[in-house]
């Protein structure tokens, strides 16, 4: 599926390599995880309460819609954490999932 975010400027930054769900992707130094993921695909995670996918909402650390996880289980807010070389990100919640309703 296509990327959600569109880069408009500042594209001369050094490349940072990380993994998302096992797949290697390239981002730019200074990218938030949100920008790194959404310049490659349409979503950040699945909603726990419906079949919908989510792509963040407020970008200022208030809505908590953009949680992703590292392979070691640390939860990161994608809007307020920058990419680092070698990061291994998982977009599926590692904890037990709240039972879907219905």
């Amino acid at each position: 599926m296509s990327a959600r975010f569109v880069r408009l400027a500042e594209q001369g930054r050094p490349i940072v390599r990380l993994k998302v769900d096992g797949e290697p992707i390239e981002a730019l130094q200074g990218d938030t995880l949100m920008v790194a993921l959404l310049t490659h695909g349409p979503a950040l995670r699945q909603s726990e309460f419906d079949p919908g996918s989510r792509a963040g909402f407020c970008l200022m650390g208030a809505c908590q819609d953009c949680w992703v996880w590292t392979r070691s289980g640390e939860r990161l807010r994608a809007c307020s954490n920058e990419v680092r070389e070698g990061l291994d990100i998982i977009t599926q919640q590692p904890e037990a999932i709240w039972p879907l309703r219905g």
Binding site: L8, G56, E74
Partner: protein, 458 residues
């Protein structure tokens, strides 16, 4: 050197000017900020390594942004600055903080809350779809990351930020599909006398609209939002609204920036026991402070949009005033002329604030019209119909009770984006004024903490 332990929370325009005023009086305040860099949201700084100029980033506000950032740089060695630190709770005299997964406490004698604001949202059917962002979020994407939230973006809602962000996107080369404003022209004309309190700002606003029109961006006033169109997996594919003429308008897009001005972050003040009051002009609960920023709790002060939504310029004045009020309360000498100057400036900004609220009103009536299957709580997918049933079947006409039954406000955003609209839904269903349904109480932790959070003993 003064000995009172003064803590400021928030390093935006209010917090920085507050710190500056205290440093000038011989204090060394602790400045705690959740962000990695100073500037707050409005003067948010781009990451190291980005090269866009102040003029590109902040437009007409470039000089103010630079001045605030430079002031902060000068202050840095004279304050105890703690970035990347969330204050998640407080007790009398002590703050609970978390930084990089580690919990610690900070003692204070005086506390100045400069906690800022977030977008104020009214739900629309389909707003949970990926690709719907808050208006402020859309601005941050551009300002802090040089990206557009989509390939074709609709700006919908009301308020000055709607036109500002749309024109910033346009200028940066993004594809702006439409600007859809719920406020009709008539409201703006009626508000003109009050908006004339700040003619430069009024002129800037009118210029933004002219730029959008000149670029042939469709701008519709007085619209009623109907729905965000799209699919659960792929996200937004368009928006549908009713125009002022009553026609249905569909605009294709893959992103929507949605917002209706701002709401204050009052959780910490609320936990401290500070009183809030219902503000008629903006139809929301704000902190009750005196005109210098003293809250109802002795030793706790508030400034900036977290206390009263008046924008960045007012936040700078209010930050200085709150510091001056604290100095007065500590029996320190204070320059009366400086106090008077801030009050004078704030008076005009107050008038402008009321004008803005009239020109771009909070669309309370939309809550009543929201279809039963529209989602109110996007965190946990709770619909307007479910919330209405807590009123009709369980008699819950008070928001905290309705929250307990419906979970609206219990999700991961902790009510930041659904509580005000939820209160309107409840009020409309109960047939009472929104002030009577109350407001959701602040709860600790004010933002979710990770189960991996460790305690460190100093």
């Amino acid at each position: 050197m003064a000995t009172a332990r003064v803590v400021i929370v928030g390093a935006g325009p209010a917090g920085v000017r507050c710190a500056q005023t205290l440093v000038a009086a011989g204090f060394r305040p602790i400045l705690i900020d959740e962000n990695r860099r100073d500037g707050g949201q409005i003067y948010r700084r781009q990451p190291q390594g980005f090269t866009r100029s102040y003029a590109t980033l902040y437009g007409t506000e470039a000089d103010k942004a630079r001045d605030l950032h430079e002031s902060f740089e000068h202050l840095r060695a004279q304050i105890d600055y703690r970035p990347d630190t969330l204050v998640w709770n407080l007790t009398p005299g002590q703050l609970c903080c978390v930084s990089q997964g580690e919990h610690s406490t900070v003692d204070y004698d005086a506390l100045i809350l400069c906690t800022g604001a977030t977008d104020r949202l009214m739900p629309i059917k389909g707003w949970q779809l990926g690709g719907t962002y808050s208006l402020g979020g859309a601005q941050i994407a551009l300002k802090a990351q040089a990206v557009s939230i989509g390939h074709r973006v609709v700006f919908m809602g009301s308020g000055p930020l709607l036109y500002l962000v749309a024109s910033q996107y346009l200028k940066a080369g993004a594809n702006v599909a439409a600007v859809l404003d719920t406020s009709p022209l008539g409201k703006r004309i009626k508000a003109l006398p009050k908006l004339m309190a700040r003619p430069r700002l009024l002129f800037t606003g009118m210029k933004l609209l002219a730029q959008l029109r000149q670029a042939k961006v469709p701008v519709h006033l007085g619209i009623s939002p109907l729905q965000v169109l799209g699919e659960a997996d792929s996200g937004v594919s368009g928006v549908q609204v009713q125009t002022a003429r009553g026609e249905t308008l569909t605009v294709a897009c893959d992103a929507v920036a949605l917002g209706y001005h701002l709401r204050p972050e009052t959780q910490l003040a609320d936990l401290a026991g500070c009183l809030l009051r219902f503000d008629e002009a903006s139809s929301q609960w704000l902190l009750a402070t005196d005109d210098a920023g003293r809250t109802s709790v002795s030793g706790i002060y508030a400034a900036g949009d977290g206390a009263k939504i008046r924008g960045a310029d007012a936040a700078e004045c209010a930050g200085r005033l709150a510091a001056l009020a604290l100095l007065q309360d500590l029996q320190q000498p204070v320059d009366a002329a400086q106090v008077a100057e801030q009050h004078r400036a704030l008076k005009l900004m107050d008038e402008f604030r009321v004008g803005l609220a009239q020109a771009f009103p909070w669309p309370a009536e939309q809550a009543k019209a929201l279809p039963d299957d529209a989602i109110v709580c996007r965190c946990e997918m709770i619909s307007a119909g479910e919330l209405r049933r807590t009123v009709s079947e369980k008699g819950a006409c008070e928001v905290n009770r309705a929250k307990a039954f419906s979970r609206v406000g219990m999700g991961r955003c902790q009510g930041r984006y659904c509580a005000q609209a939820g209160a309107e839904v409840i009020a409309a269903a109960a047939g009472i004024h929104v002030q009577e349904v109350g407001r959701q109480r602040g709860q600790a932790p004010v933002k979710p903490l990770s189960m991996l959070t460790r305690e460190v003993t100093p």
